[in-house]
Every structure is written in C-alpha cells, then in structure tokens.
C-alpha cells in the first residue's frame, strides 16, 4: 500500500488509488446526511407526539381512560367518548384486510407462479398499482353511487333470510359498514398486491423444483410449499395494508354512515377515528380540539400496537421456519 511504484516517463494505469480528499469529504458528508435523515425522522415523530400530546393533555387529564370506554359524543354538554370509533376503526379495517388480503395474495400467486407470460404479468401488476393512485374521494363517490346500490338487494336478501345471524342483523339503508369495508378492501389491495409478490419471488427457485421433484401437483406446491415459505413477507404486506386501512379517512367518511354506535351487523352505519378527526376539526372549539387531539393520540397508539404486533408475529414465525 505504502510503496507506490514510480516510473518516470511512463503513464501508469493503476487499478487502485488511495482515496482523495474529495472522496473522504463525500464519504463523511454522506454519512452525516444519512444519519441526519434517520434522526430527522425520529425528531419529527417526537415533535408530532409532543404537539398532539401537548394539545390533548388537558382532555386526557379531564376524561382519563373513561374517554376510551364511553360512547357519547355531545359537544354542547361536554361529554366525549370514542369507544364506537375505536370499534368501527378496527372492525372496518379488519373486514377490509380480509377482502383486500385474500384478493391481494391470490393475485400475487397468479402473477408470480408462472400462470402468465412475464410481459403480461407486468401489465397486470401496473394496473393493480394504478389503483393506489386513485384519490380517496373518488373511491368514496364510487362507493356511494355504485357499490351501495349494487349491494343493497343482496343485503336485503341476507337480512330477510339470515337475519338471525348478528352480522346480518339490520337492513342496509345507504351508507354502512359493508360498502365501506368493500371499498376499503379495494384500497388496501394495491398495498398487499405490490408487496406480497416480492415475498413469493424471493423464495429460491430450487425450493419449488424440489417440491415438484417430490411429485407435488402445482397447487400443492403453491399452497404447501411456496406460501408457507413466503409467509413472513406476505404477513408484512398484510400489516402494511392494515395500517393503510386504519388511517384511511375520506372514503370512509363518505361511506360508513358516521353513526356512533357499536353493532356487529355489517349493514349498520358505524364510525371511525380518522373520519371523526377529519370531520370535526374544521369547526372545533377549544375543548373539542383537545379532545380530538386525544383521539388522534389513540389512533396513533392503535397503529403502533398493530405494527408492533405484526413485527412480533413476523419475527416469531420466521424463527420457527428457520429452525
């Protein structure tokens, strides 16, 4: 390293050279930049928490945990509770995840397991990803003008014939949980369908060949070998999708009916935290802003818990598959 051959009169072509000052500078600058970016994200999150927490502190002190278990929202009498909103948020997101997750994973299998020529698969994939670019309001309007009228007769039939099942315990008048969950499912779909194919593609080709070699059929190979191997990644996609569903606002505000009640029925109107926040902020008074900040904090906490639970399950399952 330290001995550099010097040949006068000859231009030497050296493969390696010691880093110049500029290289050092760039390296340090990049390192600082990368670190700053990471810290900035943390600072930003802390700032958001500080801001929301600070503004919601008064409401937290006054309402305490009773806020989470009460279901009255009465501004003029100063009574606030968000149990119906928490319930609606989790219920609608879960339903959406079931719908979006099922179709998303099915689509991922279809796109990656040699059902289609690769060029065509790219086209399909692009189309699905386009769904993510549609504004939320458009989904809301589409839900109101297309989905609701389309599922109303189905809902009526289910209520008439299977009304004893709590899930079908009421008629669908207009907006309600079912159309909201359906539309939300479609909105979650691109997230799931974009991430889970990567997980399936990461499964080494040898694994599939080995499965075929053992005489499995195509479906056995997919369901019993490919899917379990890619489970961690697919699960990650589902957690991402769930997070997307939790935070979705405008389409839900238009479709869910915004009624503060807790019902198992799919055709009842419900409410969500995100919709509550979006709809009440513009006209909120001082007290209400504090209460809404508290509600925002609860939504943040729910998102955090869901993500952490997802992380935990993923690391648990990946350890299991590795051992």
């Amino acid at each position: 390293m330290s001995i550099i051959p010097i040949r006068l009169g000859l231009e030497t072509e050296r493969v390696s050279r010691p880093p110049s000052r500029w290289d050092y500078g760039a390296d340090i600058a990049f390192r600082i930049l990368a670190r700053a970016a990471v810290w900035l994200v943390l600072v930003l999150l802390a700032l958001i928490l500080w801001e929301i927490g600070g503004k919601g502190a008064a409401a937290m002190r006054d309402y305490g945990l009773g806020f989470l278990t009460s279901s009255t929202w009465d501004v003029s009498r100063g009574q606030f509770g968000i149990l119906p909103h928490i319930w609606g948020t989790l219920y609608s997101s879960l339903l959406a995840l079931i719908i979006g997750g099922f179709f998303g994973v099915t689509m991922a299998i279809f796109l990656t397991q040699d059902f289609l020529p690769p060029q065509l698969a790219v086209v399909f994939r692009t189309i699905v990803e386009l769904l993510a670019a549609i504004p939320s309001v458009v989904y809301g309007l589409w839900g109101l003008f297309v989905v609701v009228p389309a599922i109303r007769p189905v809902a009526g039939w289910l209520y008439d014939h299977l009304g004893w099942i709590p899930f079908f315990g009421s008629t669908l008048s207009g907006p309600g949980l079912a159309p909201a969950a359906l539309v939300l499912g479609i909105m979650v779909l691109p997230t799931v369908a974009a991430v889970s194919p990567d997980a399936l593609r990461l499964v080494p080709y040898r694994v599939k060949e080995a499965a075929y070699g053992m005489g499995t059929t195509r479906w056995e190979a997919i369901l019993k070998v490919m899917l379990p191997t890619a489970a961690t990644g697919i699960f990650g996609a589902l957690v991402l999708g769930f997070g997307r569903a939790l935070g979705e606002t405008m389409a839900l505000a238009m479709l869910i009916g915004n009624s503060n009640q807790i019902s198992l029925s799919l055709f009842s109107p419900a409410n969500t935290l995100a919709a509550l926040l979006a709809l009440n902020f513009p006209e909120a008074g001082k007290r209400e802003v504090e209460v809404l900040m508290y509600a925002a904090l609860v939504l943040l906490a729910i998102t955090l818990v869901v993500n952490m639970a997802g992380e935990a399950i993923m690391s648990f399952s990946s350890r299991k598959t590795k051992s």
């Binding site: 009255t72 929202w73 009465d74 501004v75 003029s76 009498r77 009574q79 309007l141 109101l144 003008f145 609701v148 009228p149 009421s170 008629t171 008048s173 207009g174 907006p175 309600g176 505000a253 238009m254 009916g257 915004n258 009624s259 503060n260 009640q261 019902s263 029925s265 055709f267 009842s268 109107p269 919709a275 979006a278 709809l279 009440n280 513009p282 006209e283 909120a284 008074g285 209400e288």
Partner: protein, 344 residues
Amino acid sequence: MKRVIVISVALVVLALVVVTGPVGAQDSLRLTGSGATFPFPLYSAWFKSFSSKHKSITVDYQGKGSGAGVRDFLNRTVDFAASDAAMTDEEIAKVPGGVQLLPMTGGEIVLGYNLPGNPKGLKLPRDVYAGIFLGKITKWSDPKLKAANPGVSLPDTDITVVRRADASGTTYVFTQHLSTIDEEWKKGPGAGTTVNWPKSDKFVASPKNDGVSATIKQTPGSIGYLEFAFAKFAKIEMAQLQNRAGQYVAPGTDGGPAALAGVKLPSDLRAWVTDPDGAKAYPIATYTWMLFYKENKDPKKAAVLRELVEYCLTDGQKMSAQMGYIPLPDNVAAAVKKAAGSIQ
C-alpha cells in the same frame, strides 16, 4: 454540466423575481377571507364579478367552515371572515378594536326526501318532522304522516334520516329551530354545530351539504336537512313544512324573504330566525354574516372592504335569488350599508 444547471437555476430564480416583482410593486390589492361553506357559491360569484370590475383587486375566499373562519378571524390571518353562526359575545370581546358583523344574505334549510314515485311537496306537520329527527317516527306509513298527506301513497318502509357528519352552521340553524318548536328536542339533543343524535341504524351521516344531497339521492326512503341551493341543484324533492301560523310552506323564493322580513335586527345586526311568524314564512331560515375588523391597519384596505360590501348589497343581491339564497329585505340592506361605515 454542473455549470449549466447552476446557470439555469439562476435564470429561473431571476425570472421569478422579474415576474413577481413588479406585480407586488403595483398598487394591486389582495383581500383574503375564509369561513362558511353554505354561502360559498354565492360569495365566490360575488367576489369574482367584483374582481372583474376592479382590475387591481383580487378577493380570495376559502370555504373552510364557519368555525374555522371565526378562528382565522381571531388569529388575524384574514381580512374578513364569514360565519353562519355569527360570533359569540366571548369571541367578539377577543378582537381589539371591535368587530362589525354584517348579514349579507339569507338561506333556507330544507328537508329533502327520496321516496318511490317521487311525490312532490310532501307536507310535514311540526310535530312530525321533529319526531322523525328524534327517531320517534320511523315509518313512512306512520298515521300522522298519512293524515297530513291524503292522496299521497306512502310506502311501508323505514325512514332513513340523513344528517351532517361534520360540525356545521347548517346543523346549528336546524337544531336551533327544532329546539324552539319541540321541548323534547331541547332537552335531548339540543342546539349546536354537532349534537348527540339518537342512536339508530336508520340515522346515517354524510360530510358537507354535497354529501348529504348525494346520500339522499342514493337512498330510497331517506330524508335529510340541507341548504336550499344544494337541494335545488341536485333536484331533490323538498318537503313543505308547517310554520308557526299553521300553514304549509314550500321553500323557495317566496317563503324565505317572508321569514326574514318578520325578524327585527338589533343594533349589532345579530338575530336568529328560530321560528318566524307570518302565514307565508318558511320556518327554517337564517341570515349569514360576514365579519369585519372595525380597525384595519391599512386605510386603503378598509376603503376597498367598504366598497366590496356596497357592491354585494347592490349588484350582489340581484344574484342571490337565482342562486337559491334569500336577498336581504330592503330595510336590512339599508341598515347593513350604514353599519359598513364603521369598517375603518
């Protein structure tokens, strides 16, 4: 390459400075306002035509909602604001120098419905529409509804009540009216920009006036309250409501002015039309206000604001009726014109 980028960036910056510089230097004036969404279509039409007549003046109005408008006004981030709920004494006290409230137009809140066969002009007695929104009358075939509407075939289906999901001045005016006419409503949900509605599967909520009108259109058997102009343009059937005098009055260009005419405005020009007298008065009507600072920092701005009010009171009022709003009665317009003088 790098030099090319640097030069082009410099050129762009220079161009921006050149383009924006002289405009700022000219004596052009930009007025900003924010607030109520309900008169937004009318206000934006007014301001557009005002700006086209005064080339150097632009008026920007953002329909954020009455509460947000008042908040902007208190924070002094706007030159004027608009609110369906005027301002409370408490809020007015927070403005150093004082506030001038000016009623600029009026509106009616209608009960739009969607029934099979589209029967027109359904008649709703006072106790019936209060009962519907209390969740006590739940079927279209209710005997009270049938008795008020002989000859109209009412289906034996549930009534779906559509309400506003967001906090709004429209809800405030509507619930204030219900509180005035119905004791049970007053003790129950009460009046406010959001109230605690009856819990029922048949009460659904939609954001904004457009959301309510879309939901009514999409839901057979529904009824909901919304601003007249929105119902008119969405072609939603509107109910005739029984007024204080016991008459059934349809919303529109006759009932609205009659409702406003019956109300005496106090000196601060803040009055609520909770339950108007008069045989021809449509029962749910309201003024909507613009809010101005009595003391503006820039006297030139104050002059333009006065000019703007003048324009809205004269040429502006002619647009009101055709856009679905209630023109101010003449005596009110005169009082507002006089009061506008205190914008300094």
